[in-house]
């Protein structure tokens, strides 16, 4: 045997060693973070250092990434690192929300501490959609009355006693329905409850679960390079939810009950007054200059723990909530307790600088309208939660209004106060 094969083998091994060394040298330096909540080091930032912190109330050094997203905290290979993530890119999807947002009792805690967000959302009309399901089934003879039986999610009311008397909903399964219209409804029209994948189209784009509302995607995020790779979302959680996010479900059009098709609105609004609602009704100024969340409260949007079947049974903010009536001023509360929920809410979205001693409006259920303040001159101010715009307004009492205070229907107030569009 000559030395040639031996030398060639030496050379080959040296090349292989050089290659291994070169690849090792090219491996990115791991970036570690040890969140104080878990005390477990994770290396997600090695690749995701450019991702902005999701919200001031979820600081990176406290939560890290894995607390919410799951995943393999030590893996530096993308497929493995992402393989055990909860809900893919969206840990707030309701299928995993108990483990992610609800972990450590953060948002699945006690009602007394107002940390039962998940329990409330699960029973809310935003999730169960049972009003629509019940109406359609009743209309087409699939059930004898309008007692809610099915929802888009099977749910049991665990926060007894129930004010609504609805103790459970079974899962609405269109495939078991015999009426073709009910089946068609199930197949085509269940895109609006917040855990459903939205319909196609930029105007509908939103995430599912908590992020459906709390991650506003306006303007819609850019598509990723290449076809079929989904949409690049933004890493944000906020309570400053603009009306445009609500409009990814609301005010997009109407259902045609004959064809069971969703008929999109066809107008191309350029002014906010037109964009806010679909063009079928009258509105007063505050209904379109404010954002939805400026008036509608947490309980209205996310539920109160009881299973509700209709909007009417949970939506209670009325004109008088802020303006009072001819005989009564709106309800107010002077903040004396630093632990008051109003301070927590104002901390999450610091559009106002609330202080002990401030007097704010409250709803008839005692919910603080923490972005309002009673002023010494007898008027009120409100700061837009999403726009930070300052509004001032007066109570009805002492004004020239001739209302019947018992009638708080929107049509009644619109008689005088509707804005022409």
């Amino acid at each position: 045997m000559t030395r040639r094969p031996f030398l060639a083998a030496c050379l080959l091994l040296l090349i292989a060693i050089g290659l291994a060394w070169w690849l090792e040298a090219r491996t990115p330096q791991p970036v570690a973070i040890t969140p104080s909540l878990t005390g477990e080091t994770e290396y997600c930032l090695t690749c995701h250092a450019d991702l902005a912190e999701i919200s001031p109330s979820h600081p990176l050094e406290t939560f890290g990434c894995v607390t919410c997203h799951g995943g393999e905290r030590l893996a530096l290979e993308a497929d493995l690192a992402h393989s055990s993530m909860r809900g893919g890119a969206n840990p707030s999807d309701l299928s995993v929300v108990e483990q992610s947002c609800g972990g450590g009792d953060c948002h699945a805690g006690s009602p007394a501490e107002q940390r039962d967000h998940i329990q409330r959302v699960m029973t809310s009309i935003q999730v169960n959609y049972t009003g629509a399901v019940t109406s359609i089934r009743y209309t087409f003879g699939a059930q004898p009355d309008q007692t809610p039986i099915y929802g888009a999610l099977a749910v049991t009311d665990t926060s007894l006693p129930s004010q609504t008397g609805i103790l459970r909903l079974d899962l609405f399964d269109p495939s078991t329905e015999t009426n073709p219209s009910v089946r068609a409804f199930g197949e085509k029209c269940l895109t609006c409850h917040i855990n459903a994948e939205p319909a196609d189209g930029e105007q509908y784009y939103r995430y599912t679960g908590c992020a459906a509302c709390h991650t506003p995607l306006t303007p819609p995020p850019l598509p990723l390079a290449g076809e079929g790779q989904g949409v690049r979302g933004i890493h944000t959680l906020t309570t400053a939810i603009p009306y445009t996010q609500c409009n990814t479900c609301h005010n997009r059009g109407n259902y045609d009950l004959r064809t069971m098709l969703f008929v999109e609105r066809t107008d191309q609004p350029t002014r906010r007054i037109d964009d806010y609602y679909q063009p079928i009704a009258q509105f007063v100024q505050c209904e379109w200059t404010l954002d939805c969340v400026d008036c509608h409260t947490r309980i209205e949007a996310m539920g109160d723990g009881d299973i509700h079947a209709t909007k009417a049974s949970i939506q209670y903010t009325q004109c008088k909530t802020c303006h009072g009536t001819l005989t009564e001023l709106p309800l107010t509360k002077t903040l004396t307790d630093p632990e008051d929920i109003a301070f927590r809410l104002a901390f999450l979205n610091p559009v106002v600088d609330l202080e002990i001693g401030d007097t704010i409006l409250v709803t008839e259920k005692g919910e603080p309208l923490w972005n309002t303040r009673f002023l010494p001159d007898g008027t009120y101010e409100m700061v837009g939660k999403a726009t930070r715009q300052l509004f001032t307004f007066r109570p009805v009492m002492g004004s020239g209004c001739t209302q019947n205070g018992q009638d708080q229907s929107s049509a009644y107030c619109h008689t005088c106060h509707a804005v022409e569009r």
Partner: protein
Amino acid sequence: MESAIFDRGYYIIDSIMRPNFFHHIHPPTIPAEQSRWRYTLGAGGTAIFLTLVLIITGVLEMFYYVPTPDEAALSVQTLSFLVPFGGLVRNLHFWAAQLLLIVSAVHLVRVVFTGAYAPPRRFNYLLGLTLFILAILLDFTGYILRWDQGIQWALVVGVNLVKTIPLVGEQLYVFLVGGSQPGSVTLIRFYAWHIFGLMLLAAIMTVWHSFRVRRDGGIAVPPPELRADPARISRFELVRREVTAMLLTGAALLLLSVFSPAPIAPAITDVNAITGDARAPWFFLWVQQMLKWGDPFLWGVLVPVLLLLILALIPYVLPRPAQNEVGRWFIRSNRLAQVVLAVMALLVILLTLLALLPAA
């Protein structure tokens, strides 16, 4: 020049070159026929080299591996991604283990197809076969040590197969698993078997097997009077050939490690709730395929054991290779043994390929 001298049967080189330790553990000269690539394929020597690689990389891995259910998969991830060259060490260990099985199988095929198991090497054939089984068991226990979702199916199914053995199955299961179902005790038992029990046995058997190669007259070739080529080579040439094989194997290992990392999966959350791939490691895919046919004891235990028994009996019950033919491929005298092994090998390969097909 040097090789020309030795091809003519001279072996004065020991007095010219001072043999070092590695030269010293080889015979001063061996028949040239014994070390031809086309005869031996270098399989036995390569297996020893791979074993050395496995021991070295395995010891390095032990500095980081934590054999507890909560930490095992995480420590493998730490080693793979965060320890400098840790991933390379793990990949080398993995590929050396896989190649060891392949090389051992090639070695077995070579021994049968060249009639090298003929007396006096029948006992060493059995030692080799035992080593092959130990290598498979070491590979399987090492695979389980990952303790991630990729191994759950094989662990649960593998140990359940033991249960099906009549009379002793239940006791054997508890002995292996350490309880009524896989749990934390199982991991430490597999760890102990992998790094101590099986490893110690394999080390002893490797030394014994190598010793018997030397004691039985080196690699099988016809006796001197029947040998076609009387040439001999020196230990220097032999070592050079061995080192060349090691260098090539080392390069192959490195390239495989760099371009095809060892499998890894998310950590197990509940060992008995299988969430990962329902697939056995590649060397047991043929058994997994047979399990689809029904009775787990028959197809998962009895048939594999029978195949091993047939392999073990080849030197004792089938026609012996003729002395003058030993050392050549596809000899006439033991054709039946070659056919038996070929059928078994093809069967295993076919079943493995079937198992790899996507489920209908």
